[in-house]
């Protein structure tokens, strides 16, 4: 008996080894798709989900018969929240695995780290997270929100609906919050807000002791003018921040906090009952009531085998980006990067909030902007949304040196930073 079991195990192992061996040979008739998201380290908390959603989208596409008659093959690498490693892994994906497109990155610093690699090796990157703008590369498609698709509408909402006059801009100390806050500060001043009514505060990554800052916000907000907090606090620091807000009794009805980096996934680690009414601005919420979204959530739950898992905005961005890429490859009839990059512009696919998102010549997409209030069940209730779609504006109109720039990757311009004043490509 023992001998048979043993030999069967050996047979299995041998078969497995054989399967591994034939892997690269069979790969010739598949199209490889690179997934570059951290599965370990500090960013794993957010990025693991995006890896899973990509695997789901690829599996779906294969069920529909693949792409150009070939199966899609995901290639997952782990850059481990280590910025230089992102560049190494991107190089590995492009030159060793020869992937047709890469879906990946979360933080701006990781995107900046892989950018030269994609430009040098002529790869395609789909970047799914809201970011600070001030960039447009021929090899990158930005499916997350630019500042005008998230930050500015959120501030407008607070000004009009909540009559906010005093502003706290609180953020984590790195490029995205700093640039966004610079844009917001310029925007608020252009709307007549006085400098003494703006308080700007930066904290380190992973900041966990918010007592002083929350007490300061409370003090700043008790000056008799309606006050709101615009939070670009990122990642792990959010949970202790919201816990401290709740503990110090700051309610949304007194000082609302609108966040740009807090979605369903971040709220999953929180008791949201004391936070009801605090806001977030995104282009998608899990609570969006459309048939497309319902179907997407059902598929996600079936794929991840956990009916409690939430969906969030960057997941929708990957959904849009992946479908755009599939359409562009079908249109171009090849996965050759140059052909696909040209085919991408003008592609429109359904988004999950009931409309169509289109890829614009500046490699950013059109999206609706939604404002949601946190509910006791950890979901958002949508209280406001833009009447139509908003086109992503890569070069902010509110910053010196960037307001004269535009990006247009169509021929004959083919430029990411065309200066309309000097009429030259190449920045200010």
């Amino acid at each position: 008996m023992n001998g048979i079991a043993l030999s069967r195990r050996w047979l299995l192992a041998g078969a497995a080894a054989l399967a591994l061996w034939t892997g690269p040979v069979a790969a010739a008739d598949t199209i490889k798709v690179g997934i570059l998201h951290s599965l370990s380290g500090t960013m794993a908390i957010s990025e693991t989900t995006l890896k899973d959603v990509m695997l789901m989208l690829i599996e779906e596409q294969n069920k529909k018969g693949g792409l150009l008659g070939k199966k899609l093959e995901p290639v997952v690498v782990d850059p481990a929240s280590n910025w230089p490693l992102f560049a190494e892994k991107a190089r590995e994906l492009l030159s060793k695995d020869k992937v047709a497109a890469v879906f990946g990155c979360w933080t701006s610093v990781s995107r900046k780290s892989v950018l030269p690699v994609f430009e040098e090796l002529n790869g395609i990157l789909f970047y799914p997270v809201q970011y600070e703008g001030e960039e447009s590369s021929r090899n990158v498609f930005y499916t997350g929100a630019a500042p005008n698709q998230q930050a500015i509408p959120a501030v407008d909402y607070l000004m009009q609906q909540e009559k906010v006059e005093r502003w706290v801009l609180a953020g984590t100390d790195y490029v995205y919050p700093r640039t966004t806050n610079k844009i917001l500060e310029a925007y608020l001043k252009s709307k007549g807000v006085k400098p003494e009514d703006i308080m700007i505060n930066y904290t380190p990554f992973g900041h966990s002791d918010w007592q002083t800052i929350v007490a300061e916000i409370k003090k700043f907000g008790s000056a008799g003018k309606k006050t709101a907090v615009v939070s670009t606090i990122n990642g792990d620091a959010n949970v202790p921040f919201y816990k401290e807000l709740a503990n110090q009794g700051i309610k949304a009805t007194d000082i609302p906090v609108v966040a740009f980096s807090v979605g369903e996934e971040e709220l999953a680690g929180l008791d949201t009952a004391p936070l009801v009414g605090h806001l977030a601005a995104w282009n998608y919420f899990m609570s969006v009531d459309t048939p497309e979204n319902k179907e997407f959530i059902e598929k996600w739950h079936a794929f991840i085998k956990d009916p409690k898992r939430v969906t969030n905005d960057p997941m929708e961005a990957h959904y849009i980006g992946f479908n755009m890429w599939v359409k562009a490859v079908e249109k171009a009839g090849t996965t050759d990067p140059d052909a696909v990059i040209d085919a991408m512009i003008g592609i429109a696919v359904p988004n999950l909030s009931g409309g169509y998102s289109a890829m614009m010549p500046n490699h950013h997409i059109t999206k609706p902007v939604l404002i949601g209030e946190i509910q006791a069940d950890g979901q958002f209730s949508i209280v406001w949304q833009t009447p139509g779609l908003v086109v992503g504006d890569e070069w902010s109109d509110y910053l010196e040196g960037s307001k004269d720039l535009i990006a247009d990757w169509r021929p004959p311009m083919r430029c990411g930073n065309f200066n309309v004043k000097t009429g030259k490509c190449g920045g200010s």
Partner: protein, 536 residues
């Protein structure tokens, strides 16, 4: 108590009461507006319902505020869901037989929430429940509304309870100082000034700003005096608050570092996996809470207490296993120990990430740990921080008692001071090493229970504290528990005193630079071990 009150209010709503004739159509319209769900039209409707005096106004508005007011999509009829989950018809309060699927909660936003709180504030002034009356006064105080003045004065006249009277009077002053006649304003200002809080200061300043240019100079003076009085008191209170925040940060550092003070300080093992012991403790807290949720939902508030032994045992067992399997083979080779434990830390992190998931886990704050306490009026301390300070003290004293007063403590001290002598006296040093390490790790796990209350429960939890823990132990003086205590508290207070001046980022840098200079001057830390142990 609150539920009971709601239930009583619902019972009251059961009794049919006629709607006042003149408002009837307006109230009906307002009611229909709520069901239609147009956020902009709802604010005036709420006002109409609140003033109508109909019996169902209060339960309906409260349900709207709590998200328990439901509208049927087909005919826009309104229903209430009680906190217990039964569905009632909103107007009659009778149980309704409707399919829950056809009902959608009526959505509100912050503006409506404010309007509702103000409306309910004046509606609940006459509540038989003292806590509800206090809350109503508090709401009126934060959102003074001239229309509430009349009911408030009536309520004040018949109020017997001293504390509630005081709250009513304060709310009345808040209304008067902004909207009242000039004569009443000065008096209101001086009444307000007796309670120092940023909210009062804001109100006084706003009242000062709102003063017309031709106002009575005596009134302006009275307002200025009140502002100055509040400002002086606030400065004092602020200092006390900052000091407390420092102590609270210090106790968090202490909880994270105290286990390390045992393993690194007493045993001399550089344990890079110490942070992961803290993380295991936090996950144990979460697991115990989930178990309570499943089997003992009524006692969920007390799951934290049950988590203490669980976290101690889990982290202690992990520590024991690490000591036996890896560290015991590496004594006397600090570099290898450092690398090996760093490896263990990565393995543990990734194991949790793969086994439980990379996303944060939710640990609820029990009700006895949430909210604020005011030991002195105006000095608001968050309850969870107070509990953590006391808890850190208790853990520290217990550990000191254990090392000083028990057989194990004696053996630990003997092995630390002179390993070979202890061996010759018949102490089984390998056993003592393992137990000491397990003790240090277990205490780190207990620290994790407290940290789960204020930080993320994620695989990265430990990383955030490992560097701070080493700093505390080195600063306090290796091998000295009291040094660790004082080190943690000093760092906490200095950090918090610097933060308002220098900002969080620069403050942290300044503290680190100061520490480097201090260690340069005094490598042995605050408290040095004397005698033979110091050279060993």
């Amino acid at each position: 108590m609150r539920r009971l009150f709601l239930f009583l209010m619902l019972l009251a709503a059961l009794a049919p009461q006629p709607v006042r004739g003149e408002d009837e159509t307006a109230v009906r319209d307002a009611f229909a507006t709520l069901a239609a769900g147009n956020l902009d039209a709802m604010e005036p409707a709420i006002g109409v319902i609140a003033r109508s005096g109909v019996a169902w106004a209060e339960p309906v508005l409260r349900a709207l505020l709590d998200g328990r007011l439901l509208a049927r999509q087909a005919d826009r009829a309104l229903f209430l869901r009680t906190p217990e989950g039964t569905v009632l018809e909103a107007e009659s309060g009778t149980p309704a037989a409707v399919e829950a699927r056809t009902l959608r909660p009526v959505r509100i936003n912050n503006r409506l929430r404010r309007a509702l709180e103000a409306a309910l504030g004046s509606l609940t002034l006459a509540s038989p429940d003292r806590a509800v009356r206090l809350a109503a006064a508090e709401k009126l105080f934060t959102r003074p509304d001239l229309s509430a003045l009349e009911p408030l004065e009536r309520a004040l006249a018949r109020e017997a309870d001293g504390a509630v009277r005081e709250a009513f009077a304060r709310a009345r002053a808040a209304i008067l100082v902004e909207h009242g006649p000039p004569a009443a304003r000065a008096e209101a200002a001086s009444l307000l000034a007796s309670a120092a809080s940023p909210a009062v200061l804001g109100k006084l300043q706003a009242a000062k700003r709102a003063l017309p240019a031709d106002a009575d100079p005596a009134l302006a003076e009275a307002l200025d005096a009140a502002v100055a009085r509040v400002e002086t008191r606030l400065r004092l209170l602020e200092f006390a608050q900052t000091f407390f925040q420092g102590l609270s940060l210090g106790s968090v550092l202490l909880l994270a570092a105290i286990g390390l003070a045992v393993t690194f300080g007493v045993m001399g093992v550089i344990n890079m996996a110490h942070g992961e012991m803290v993380m295991l403790g936090a996950y144990a807290t979460w697991a115990v809470q989930e178990a309570f949720r499943a089997f003992l939902p009524g006692a969920l508030d007390w799951s934290l207490l049950a988590a203490l032994p669980a976290a101690f045992l889990l982290a202690g067992a992990a520590g024991w296993a690490i000591e036996r399997s890896v560290i015991s083979r590496l004594y006397g080779r600090p570099l290898e120990t450092l690398l090996a434990t760093f490896g263990i830390s990565l393995v543990l992190q990734q194991a949790v990430r793969l086994g439980i998931g990379a996303t944060n886990r939710e640990v609820v704050t029990p009700s006895w740990m949430s909210g604020l306490v005011e030991p002195v009026p105006g000095l608001a301390l968050t309850m969870n921080r107070v509990v953590i300070v006391l808890f850190a003290l208790a853990v520290f004293l217990l550990l000191v008692a254990l090392i000083r007063g028990t057989r194990l403590g004696l053996e630990i001290r003997a092995v630390t001071q002179n390993r070979r002598m202890a061996e010759t006296m018949g102490i089984r040093t390998p056993r003592v090493d393992a137990l000491t390490f397990a003790l240090g790790s277990g205490i780190a796990g207990i620290g994790g229970v407290a940290l789960a209350q204020i930080d993320n429960v994620s695989p990265n939890l430990g990383q955030a504290y490992i560097v701070d823990s080493f700093i505390v132990v080195v600063f306090g003086g290796v091998g000295n528990l009291w040094g660790t205590f004082l080190g943690a508290m000093t760092l906490g207070v200095v950090n918090k005193l610097l933060e308002p001046v220098a900002g969080a980022v620069l403050g942290k840098i300044l503290v680190l630079v100061a520490l480097i200079l201090f260690i340069q001057r005094r490598p042995q830390g605050l408290f040095a071990l004397r005698g033979r142990a110091a050279e060993a």
